[in-house]
Symmetry: T
Subunit: 68 residues, 12 copies
């Protein structure tokens, strides 16, 4: 009952909008039973520069979901 | 005169909107003389996932304020 | 041909709007050949507090551009 | 023959007893071929506080198992 | 409603028994509103050696409690 | 279109030759859809010593591949 | 008897003289029961530059004092 | 008189019982004048897994002893 | 006479051969007075994967050269 | 107006006197527009030993100056 | 029987060839009972630059050997 | 000839004067062949507080000396 376990997987989400959207894409694209409840931890934030402008936001997140 | 000191306290702010709002809540909810001028440093960013969606943004910040 | 090098420079961008804007200012203000294509990595996020409110967002980023 | 590889997965184990039990639960609950021989590395230790008492021990571990 | 904040304080607990007891002492000795619900994070583990034997376990923990 | 995500998995490659070979083994032995294009990041480098000589090179790498 | 706890607070001391003086100011300005015996740990060292000269030394220290 | 020095050595202790026992073994097995008074700092915690069960606890500790 | 200073710049070198070659390219491509004597420090090692094979080695190094 | 940027450069200062002097030399020897107002952050402290005595203090600092 | 301990010592190996050779020199030059079986962990990689070329590879490794 | 190795040992020096003196004591008290030429790296700086005043400066340094 009180014995629980959570598995963490590391995902990089990419968005042209902003960092929050990049995180949300990382969460949305995560499959194999990680769509339920859980939490995320931001590990790294990067992005692409094209012609001197930020053109992509990239967020690496650890996504945790309960192990059944 | 030139001898100053600043105290830092660590606070986790939570918001359903975005990371900047979570940081602003951490700053706003901080009491005991920390409402004046100072600065913050982001220590950690996490969040909650419900039904496969980001439902809360959590920012841990160190908030610094002058010691009188 | 396959031998390339990228130089990274560390820049702190400041904005009254939000963290993404602070990053974009760091990228835009970077000179000496770093205006082309490349990438950035967020190193640190801080900000200023005035009268108990966040009044400036400060993002330290490493900006990478190709060495000709 | 001498070419081996090990895959690491990150798991959070939770126990009401102590940290060692939390680690053992993380190991026991790990599935997909990780039940064999291998090793674990403690990444983080946290826990829950209820009514001013520690009520749950949480250990995040990297669990390594041989890739066939 | 959804706007919450948690304050973290750093405490070193000392015990002659074991690490879990040292953590529990850190939690128990924490005052000013931190006696309610919340969580802890282990930051550091050390101890004293007397006559070649471990004679004290010392755990540094961050203790988080809700800001009202 | 611009919404992409990459999953990272952590693998330890072992080789009797050198560190680059250990990294290549980690990449080659990685399964479940990670055989396509992507990148790796070196996390840790270790090795075995037998009779005072290095007899195995071990490289821990994060291997990233696109999530379909 | 053997159950003790120490609380750590983080303080930034500023001095125009040198780093040791900045640390001593951080210790001296710390209030609420931290004036007794204990220890400090240096967390960060920074300073201000005016007209190309170091004009202020800033030391961030964790100051630990016994919890009664 | 007030001039003292302590030497730190890094030792990995292994036990089939638990982490505290692994630390105590590291302290007990340390030779060359480190058997006296001093302190230890936990650097890393790992362990072995056999048939899906934790079969050994391994604690890496820095052990400090006074230099005569 | 005894007052010296060294400037460090961060460069990413890329090679199809191996990590040492990637470091040598980073050193060779570094301009503006850094071609003299000095030293380098490896900061990060990554690489590209194409069709499941390592196709590029990338080494980030800090290159230090004397300030005249 | 409120859009500002600061560039950081990493410099190692060396002095036979003490650490503060090594930092001041790093600041003084820094060229290309970094002579104005700004700040420094200590990154590393090392030194040389000759015949069992400290003969040089070396401080690595990040020096930040406003980008015009 | 199951109570074992390993001592780690930190050694910097230098080679004009490559990083693996630098590591092997660190292992070979290590004395006082560390010539047996054990393992190493790479802690840092640096090198010397002469006339704009890499002229020495330096690897700092922790070398672990069983305590009898 | 070009094959060299340096051994590092970790020492905590204590002084009532200042940090540089604490470092010099760590270097001076180091025995077994470490009295020759080499270098040190500052790992940690702490100190004791008595009656609200800094009464001891403690510097942990890695001291490197050539292996014959």
């Amino acid at each position: 009952m009180s014995e629980k376990a959570y598995k963490k997987i590391r995902v990089v989400g990419c968005s042209v909008q902003n960092m929050e959207k990049a995180i949300e894409i990382a969460v949305a694209k995560t499959t194999d039973g990680h769509h339920g409840n859980g939490w995320f931890e931001v590990v790294e934030m990067r992005g692409a520069i094209t012609d001197g402008k930020v053109t992509e936001w990239q967020a690496t997140v650890d996504i945790a979901a309960k192990v059944d």
